[in-house]
């Protein structure tokens, strides 16, 4: 930047400071002479320093840091100088201390410093000056003393320049109205300067991932299902062929609503489910071979999976609706104590495909497409067990940031014991419930599942935008 351009960048405050600026000027004096407020003067000085005009601020700092011992040392010399000067021959510690008139503290600091700079040698508790030390001593330089003030060449030149003051600083409506800007120069800004940070308000980062997951299913032609979070055991378990004594129905795993039972759906569907559990009804299954209890099915629970929505959807589907594809993304609940990998509320991305030609290969195809679109390039599948699907599959995606496989996919083809009582006939229904929160953790680099919903405003401010 030329000196001319430099002049054009000067802020009114800088212009006030510049003319009275001399070497060794203290902040107090600058304030006195310019009649600026101390923050204004400081800002002007800082800006000038950024422009490489001065190095005032740093010099001031150093004077202050030397204030305690500085004056003393200016008179008597720095302790390390005295130390070095005393070394006319090999001496032990106490001899040096005495000769150079150093306190214990001064001695210790100087010793370390001189040793580090390779100016002295220690041998058998005796200290000897090195060649490097000798040459330094002879040059009689105050080698460790820094200049109290450093004025830059540019600054010296600038002080000599004539500085015009007819630059336009802030462009105002008045200037525009009167056209008074014509023929004048605008003050140049330091566009590299740091500005105070501001933060936009944002959607919650988990909700951003949910929106994205929803879009994937919409793009794939799926229709959204919605339903309540409190469900009767009937939809959450029984309709999904989960035996009434299955451990998942235990109170340790599932949130039951106290003193509040729900209502069962129409009689024929209840009857069909009952028979399917007891002896397989007409599904070709043996059933669970027990006596099915309506009471258990009426109990209200917080849904443990969104698969209950899929069951309800199947029960309402008409022949003419098929083939059909449905999805939902929503919260599920597990009666669990929270720790870094377990939450009691978690989001699941649910889907079903009802199509007489659907098969296991399609199931894997949909699951991989979803994982890929979520940003996970590597997916693997392996056998699994769920009471309501057969074949069942679990899938992992590879988290390339944390460098590990994470289990996020739970899927299968609904058993005939699920489909036939709900739909009236046995056709393949592909089904899955993918762990969305775990995927979101991977995408946002979150290690502790509790950090998903702690709503720390600082964390949320700094969270990167979901770019999918």
């Amino acid at each position: 930047m030329s000196i001319k351009e430099l002049i054009e960048t000067l802020h009114p405050l800088e212009r006030k400071v510049l003319p009275i600026l001399k070497e060794d000027m203290e902040l107090k004096k600058i304030i006195e002479k310019t009649k600026l407020k101390d923050v204004e003067a400081m800002r002007a000085l800082q800006w000038l320093q950024n422009k490489d005009v001065l190095k005032i601020k740093q010099d001031l700092k150093e004077v202050i840091s030397l204030d305690k011992n500085g004056e003393e040392y200016i008179k008597t010399g720095l302790p390390e100088t005295k130390f070095l000067k005393s070394l006319t021959k090999e001496l032990n510690f106490n001899e040096i201390k005495e000769k150079a008139n150093l306190t214990d503290e001064e001695f210790n600091i100087s010793l370390g410093l001189l040793k580090r700079e390779d100016l002295i040698q220690i041998k058998n508790n005796k200290i000897k000056i090195t060649e490097k030390g000798k040459s330094l001593k002879e040059s009689k330089e105050e080698f460790l003393r820094k200049l109290p003030l450093e004025t830059k060449d540019l600054g010296n030149k600038l002080i000599k320049e004539k500085i015009p003051d007819n630059f336009i600083d802030t462009l105002t409506t008045n200037i525009l109205k009167t056209n008074s800007w014509k023929g004048k120069k605008f003050r140049r800004y330091d566009i590299k300067i740091n500005v105070p940070k501001i933060y936009p308000a944002k959607r919650h980062f988990v909700n951003q991932s949910i929106e994205y997951a929803k879009r994937i299913w919409l793009d794939l032609g799926f229709k959204e299902m919605q339903g309540s979070k409190v469900q009767i055991g009937f939809w959450n378990f029984d309709a999904l062929f989960t035996a009434q004594d299955h451990p998942v129905r235990d109170i340790q795993d599932t949130y039951y609503i106290k003193n509040f039972n729900g209502k069962l759906p129409s009689k024929d569907i209840v009857e069909r489910i009952k028979k399917t559990h007891e002896n397989g009804w007409t599904t070709g299954s043996k059933g669970w071979q027990y006596s099915w209890d309506e009471k258990e099915a009426k109990k209200n629970v917080l849904r443990t999976h969104t698969t209950c929505l899929s069951a309800e959807t199947l029960s309402k589907l008409k022949e003419s609706d098929i083939p059909a594809k449905f999805f939902s993304v929503g919260k599920n609940f597990r009666n669990e104590t929270m720790d870094f990998s377990h939450g009691f509320e978690l989001n699941q991305s649910e889907g079903i495909v009802i199509d007489k030609n659907a098969n296991f290969k399609h199931l894997l195809g949909y699951l991989r497409a979803f994982a890929n679109k979520m940003g996970y390039g590597r997916v693997r599948f392996r056998p699994a067990y769920f009471p309501y699907t057969e074949p069942s599959v679990e899938g992992d995606v590879y988290d390339s940031i944390r460098k590990k496989w994470i289990e996020v996919i739970a899927a299968g083809i609904f058993r005939p014991e699920v489909v036939k009582p709900l739909l009236g006939k046995d056709i393949p229904v592909l089904a899955w419930g993918n762990g969305l929160d775990r995927m979101a953790m991977g995408m946002h680099g979150i290690k502790d599942i509790r950090d998903l919903y702690k709503n720390d405003l600082k964390q949320m401010k700094n969270m990167k935008l979901w770019l999918k």
Binding site: A201, K202, R203, H204, N207, W217, L218, G221, F222, K223, M225, Q226, S228, K229, V230, D245, I251, Q252, Y255, Y256, I257, K258, G262, G280, G284, S285, G287, Q289, Y290, L302, P323, K331, N335, F344, E345, N357, A358, N359, F360, K361, L364, G365, R380, F381, P383, A384, Y385, E390, P391, S392, V393, R415, P416, E417, Y453, N455, D456, L457, K458, K461
Partner: protein
């Protein structure tokens, strides 16, 4: 889910082949068991609940050996006939109606092996036996027993024996009170005036299922060679499978299986029954479901690798498999041997139209609009506690409680969203202000005999100048954007400053609260900044919308 921990060398001996660690890891996962750990000494696998037959080293190794094609097809187990009898007395009908039994001879017991058997027994108790409710298993040194054995129920005071590990004789009731096993399983005999027990021809009580064995004749030692095994419970089929799982494991250990006659009145049953069950497999159905085109000979090959036999559409199912209810269960096993990694994934060309739920669209539009007011969206839990929902808000609410919630901080369902947002403000006191937040979330309320769920929007403004005007400006603007007109009425609400709180209604329907939060509430939440709030029922509002979004 239950895990088993097995010695790798032993495992290899049973499998009949040694695999590299990598190969082992890979194959175990693809068999349908979750590998937790494998090193040169130990393998820990999680067994899925549908395969209790794999809960022993022998059972797991048996399945694995087939899977990697070392020993294929249905395993033959020779059951030798014995004329030892177990008589099931009519008295057990009401209390524990069934038992199946077997004798295993020529076992070489060591302390290690005893531990192993107890381990199998316990794993089956917990899983398949549902904590001894459905099935309880007893194992006894056969040498000390004189048959016929009787399974009978009597007045508990008259059942006297020294329970396993105890010093003195107790009666049935004392067993429940004075032994740890008794206390743990007493609930399974609750309300019964007679307790079931096994007693032999010497009048020695063997055990009182499902609680405990006797110390005299129910204690296996490393001198034991032959054992008597019984399973008792309520479902004959379950007991049969359970017994089969144990006897096949013991036979794999080198034992010889001997049958017994179980006498139910004038019916006689030979137990154990290791005859394979038969199920028809529809190859067309199978190929269609899996999207494959497997020939019969392939199917036979795959089935043999899962321990089945196959001939002309009929599958012979091992007698220890308890999970085969429908042919889809067999089809899954075919898929597993075919290899999940070998399926050619595809997305079919089926035309369906994607459609977002209208209400979800509505909520999403509102959320995006609110971000424009510089409000940050939070996502809090639907669960809360009484203190924050009621006490700290200075209100009494008829909330919905959860049964035995594992955390006392989250044990009821929220009836409104504002307390959740005040919780957020409480935890963010160290962060910069202004803290202006919003959340759209579900709330739960009792409505007579029903639980009503509504999605609500709550906005909280929290900074040194937060006030009623500012929050009402947002309310105004939101309603303008939705094309709705509202009416606001003064109300009393303890959570707000009197005279600075209102109820908002649209077309006469009450939909929102608006106001400045009571300083006492703020202090309850430890806040030193004013907070103004409005909370709007979006579920209700959506019903009032003049035009619906979407179709």
């Amino acid at each position: 889910m239950p895990t088993i921990s097995i010695n790798k060398k032993e495992f290899e001996k049973y499998v009949g082949k040694k695999l590299s660690l990598d190969k082992l890891k890979d194959r175990i996962s693809y068999l349908g068991t979750d590998l937790e750990k494998v090193d040169n000494n130990e393998i820990i696998v999680e067994i899925f609940p549908d395969r209790p037959d794999m809960l022993s080293l022998q059972g797991f190794a048996r399945a694995f050996s087939s899977f990697i094609s070392v020993k294929k097809g249905l395993r033959k187990y020779n059951v030798k006939k014995s004329d030892h009898k177990v008589i099931v007395d009519k008295s057990v009908d009401k209390y524990r109606p069934y038992t199946v039994c077997a004798i295993i001879k020529n076992l070489k017991f060591s302390d290690e092996k005893i531990k192993e058997i107890i381990d199998i027994q316990e794993k089956l108790h917990i899983t398949y036996g549902r904590n001894r409710k459905k099935a309880a298993i007893g194992v006894y040194p056969f040498e000390k027993i004189k048959t016929p054995i009787v399974f009978i129920a009597s007045d508990p005071k008259k059942i006297k024996f020294i329970p396993l590990g105890e010093k003195k004789e107790l009666n049935g009731l004392q067993v429940l009170n004075q032994t740890s096993s008794g206390r743990e399983y007493a609930h399974l005999l609750e309300g019964m005036n007679k307790f079931p027990y096994f007693i032999d021809a010497n009048n020695e009580v063997l055990s009182m299922p499902p609680i405990i064995n006797s110390d005299n004749v129910g204690n296996i030692s490393n001198k034991t060679k032959d054992v008597f095994i019984e399973c008792s419970g309520f479902d004959f089929n379950i007991l049969k499978k359970c017994l089969n799982m144990i006897v096949t494991s013991l036979a794999d250990m080198g034992g010889e299986i001997y049958s017994m006659e179980i006498i139910y009145g004038n019916k006689k049953i030979i137990s154990p029954n290791l005859e394979p069950e038969k199920m028809k497999l529809d190859l067309k159905y199978m190929n269609k479901l899996l999207g494959l085109n497997l020939k019969e000979k392939d199917v036979k090959k795959y089935l043999e690798r899962m321990g089945y036999d196959y001939s002309k559409n009929i599958v012979l199912i091992p007698a220890y498999r308890s999970d085969i209810m429908h042919q889809v269960d067999i089809i899954e096993d075919i898929a597993i041997t075919y290899g999940y990694e070998n399926f050619k994934e595809e997305i079919p060309n089926v035309a369906t139209i994607g459609e977002e739920n209208n209400f979800e669209v509505f909520k999403n539009k509102i959320a995006n609009l609110l971000v424009g007011f510089n409000l940050s969206e939070t996502s809090t839990y639907h669960l809360i506690n009484e203190k924050d929902l009621c006490e700290n808000m200075l209100v009494k609410t008829d909330y919905i409680e959860l049964e035995k919630a594992s955390s006392s901080d989250y044990n009821i369902l929220r009836t409104w969203v504002t307390p959740s947002l005040l919780q957020v403000l409480r935890t963010n006191k160290h962060n910069e202000y202004p803290q202006n937040l919003f959340e759209i979330g579900t709330v739960f309320n009792k409505n007579k005999e029903k639980i009503e769920e509504n999605d609500r929007l709550a906005i909280t403004l929290c900074h040194s100048k937060a006030n009623f005007t500012e929050i009402k400006q947002i309310l105004d603007s939101l309603f303008d954007n939705l094309g709705l007109k509202y009416k606001i009425d003064n109300i009393e609400h303890n959570s707000f400053i009197p005279g600075r709180v209102g109820r908002v209604s649209v077309n006469g329907k009450k939909v929102a609260y608006i106001g400045e939060i009571n300083p006492l509430v703020l202090s309850n939440f430890g806040l030193e900044m004013p907070v103004s709030v409005f909370e709007l029922n979006l579920t209700e509002l959506f019903k009032l919308m003049p035009e619906k979004i979407g179709l």
